[in-house]
């Protein structure tokens, strides 16, 4: 199994009383809550943490994109990937991902990713997402066109990477007379493509299709759901007549390792609860703009009535397997058990979350890297079948 450190780069200095006057840490929370002096320190601290992951022997580091919020300060994740490209030596660098439907010009992402792939001599992993619903408020991108634009932008980027240019592109949303990428990507035929999702049968069906075989990455989901979606991917692959490898399945989960179960829980509690209740907080209208989900899925959500924003405790998320927390032995056992039962080949650990401070983040990283990671890395991953070349 391959182990990665994922970072959200939250604005950890957020005034946590903001929710007395504002209903979300996203979109409508005034940016007067952001202090550039503190933010600058955080950016550099977080980049140091990801560079440290390289030294500790992680297989990769991961960043992602969110706009206009305190939850994650990476509206342009390529900036972070660029900074990491030269300062790290061994790790893969993954952008998980760019929200394709927001793009006015998808070629910008094809170019940016190809540049990072060249600078790192092929240490780059590309992630494509639709973004969460809030991004559509932040960027004025029409959520009703989200699916269409995702697929069109994806097709354009993959063609730009794999076809010799110049070629014209005529889509409904994007049109070009000349697509001719300089630089071409370093990896042949292109960087690996990962598809992070909170669970959607449509997405799994699309990612698992034999033309793509993209790595499907399940993010922040109860373990039972994780198992269900991973099985769905395997079943869909089987229906297409091939066997999905562990390389095609990944899981992203917050993890905290302490000296003992008791210490770990005590140290993590305020910070994971801030992550859940302060940083993730948003009303349903912000999370699910019209068109973001299919009408059928929306009905399901409205029936469930449990929007993000409901108060959650450390025990809620530990019980559901959404947060792995404990002594090295506990964390190792849990992750080994999930890996054995579910069979994923990539584990993305969120080792900083919410307000977790620098010293505890480092301690968490070190304990994980020394006491947990070696056991998991040793677990066999079925050899990756190379993704099909695009003509």
């Amino acid at each position: 199994m391959k182990l990665y450190m994922m970072h959200l780069m939250p604005y950890a200095d957020l005034d946590l009383d903001y929710d007395k006057t504002h209903n979300s840490a996203w979109i409508t929370l005034p940016n007067s809550y952001y202090d550039p002096k503190k933010g600058a320190k955080l950016y550099n601290r977080y980049l140091d943490e990801l560079e440290y992951a390289d030294q500790l022997g992680f297989d990769g580091v991961c960043v992602n994109e969110h706009h206009q919020n305190a939850y994650g300060l990476m509206p342009q994740p390529g900036v972070m990937a660029g900074a990491l490209a030269r300062r790290t030596k061994h790790v893969k660098i993954a952008i998980l991902g760019r929200a394709l439907p927001l793009l006015n010009n998808p070629v910008t992402v094809a170019e940016e990713f190809a540049m990072i792939d060249n600078i790192t001599e092929g240490r780059f992993i590309a992630g494509f997402v639709r973004g969460i619903g809030a991004e559509y408020h932040a960027w004025s991108s029409n959520p009703a066109d989200s699916h269409e634009r995702f697929h069109e932008a994806h097709d354009l980027i993959v063609r730009a990477w794999t076809e010799i240019g110049p070629f014209p592109f005529e889509g409904k949303h994007y049109q070009f007379e000349y697509v001719n990428l300089w630089p071409r990507p370093y990896q042949t035929p292109r960087p690996p493509i990962w598809i992070p999702s909170q669970g959607s049968s449509e997405t799994i069906e699309w990612a698992s299709h034999p033309d793509r075989r993209y790595t499907y990455l399940q993010t922040f989901t109860p373990a039972a759901m994780l198992a269900k979606y991973m099985q769905m991917y395997k079943d869909m692959a089987a229906e297409h007549g091939y066997e999905a490898t562990e390389d095609q399945l990944g899981w992203s989960v917050p993890v905290y390792v302490g000296e003992t179960d008791e210490i770990a829980r005590r140290e993590a509690q305020p910070h994971i609860e801030n992550f859940l209740n302060k940083f993730l907080r948003m009303p349903k209208e912000m999370l699910l703009p019209p068109g973001y989900l299919s009408l059928k899925s929306m009905i399901g959500v409205m029936k469930a009535k449990s929007a993000i924003g409901g108060k959650q405790t450390i025990d809620d998320v530990m019980d559901k397997g959404m947060f792995i927390c404990g002594s090295p032995q506990t964390v190792r056992q849990k992750l080994e058990q999930y890996q054995k039962e579910i069979g994923f080949g990539h584990l993305l650990t969120l080792l900083q979350f919410g307000t977790l401070p620098a010293d505890l983040t480092r301690k968490n990283m070190e304990l994980f890297a020394k006491e947990v990671m070696p056991h998991l890395q040793a677990r066999g991953t079925t050899p990756a079948v190379s993704e099909p070349a695009f003509s």
Binding site: E285, P290, G291, L295
Partner: protein
């Protein structure tokens, strides 16, 4: 007598139409929440007019055609519908999103438009005047902000059945498709509103929190033969909140035109 309800296929799209009354035809174009029900103001208008209330393609009981991308598409569609119904001289009344459609249509041609009534129409943007964001409001907030009279707002029923929820979501989806960005307007429309030759009445509630009443004078100044009537103590839906006053004004205006 109850209204009649039919389905017509126009430009490849099956749409639901409610109709009632005798007299000159009056075509009513609904707003973002659709036209599921025959409302009291429709009944009042039906005493003097042949009131025709279609549901837009993509809304309510009407189908969603492949060709539908913009409000301009709907404006062209309604030219087809007017021809399909054999109307040669129609009083066109549009509210909010429907007002935007009606205004677009009238910039193309007023050949068959006897009069135009725009009720708190979307379609233009007025610099410096902040609109409400209906996509950020919860259902309760939306009800509250659409009305001046909060007692009335509280009496608005929330969809109770799964079918009603589905219709609400369908209408919301199409409203987003047509009006998410640029938000509820077409930046090019204001350039051509001077093409409207039909006599035009613009109606606005003085307490409209979605499209502020400052939009009224802007619209009036852009359409040559137009007048503006502000209804006091009224929100975004004058035809619902002040049905009697609304009907009186529309009737008086359309009779003067006739």
């Amino acid at each position: 007598m109850a209204h009649q309800e039919t389905f017509e296929t126009v430009t490849g799209c099956r749409i639901r139409i409610m109709r009632k009354g005798q007299g000159q035809p009056l075509l009513f174009l609904h707003g973002a929440s659709g036209a599921a029900n025959w409302l009291p103001f429709m009944d009042m208008l039906a005493q003097n007019y042949d009131v025709i209330v279609p549901e837009h393609p993509g809304f309510g009981g009407s189908a969603t055609p492949q060709w539908l991308d913009t409000v301009g598409d709907l404006a062209h569609f309604y030219r087809d519908l007017i021809d399909h119904l054999g109307l040669t001289s129609v009083h066109l009344v549009g509210t909010s999103l429907g007002g935007w459609i009606a205004a677009e249509l009238a910039t193309f041609t007023c050949e068959k438009i006897k009069s135009l009534t725009l009720v708190a129409p979307a379609g233009i943007s007025v610099p410096g005047v902040r609109k409400g964001d209906m996509f950020m409001w919860s259902p309760e907030e939306l009800a509250s902000k659409l009305f001046h009279n909060q007692e009335l707002a509280r009496s608005v029923p929330q969809p109770a059945t799964e079918e009603a929820v589905m219709l609400m979501l369908k209408n919301r989806l199409m409203t987003a498709k047509l009006g998410w960005s640029p938000r509820m307007h077409n930046p090019h429309l204001r350039k051509w509103l001077h093409r409207i030759t039909a006599p035009t009445l613009i109606i606005w509630g003085d307490d409209d929190q979605l499209l502020p009443p400052a939009y009224g004078p802007a619209y009036r100044d852009l359409i040559p033969s137009s007048s503006l009537h502000i209804i006091a103590q009224c929100g975004h839906l004058p035809h619902v909140e002040k049905a009697q006053e609304f009907v009186t004004h529309v009737t008086q205006f359309t009779q003067e035109v006739a």
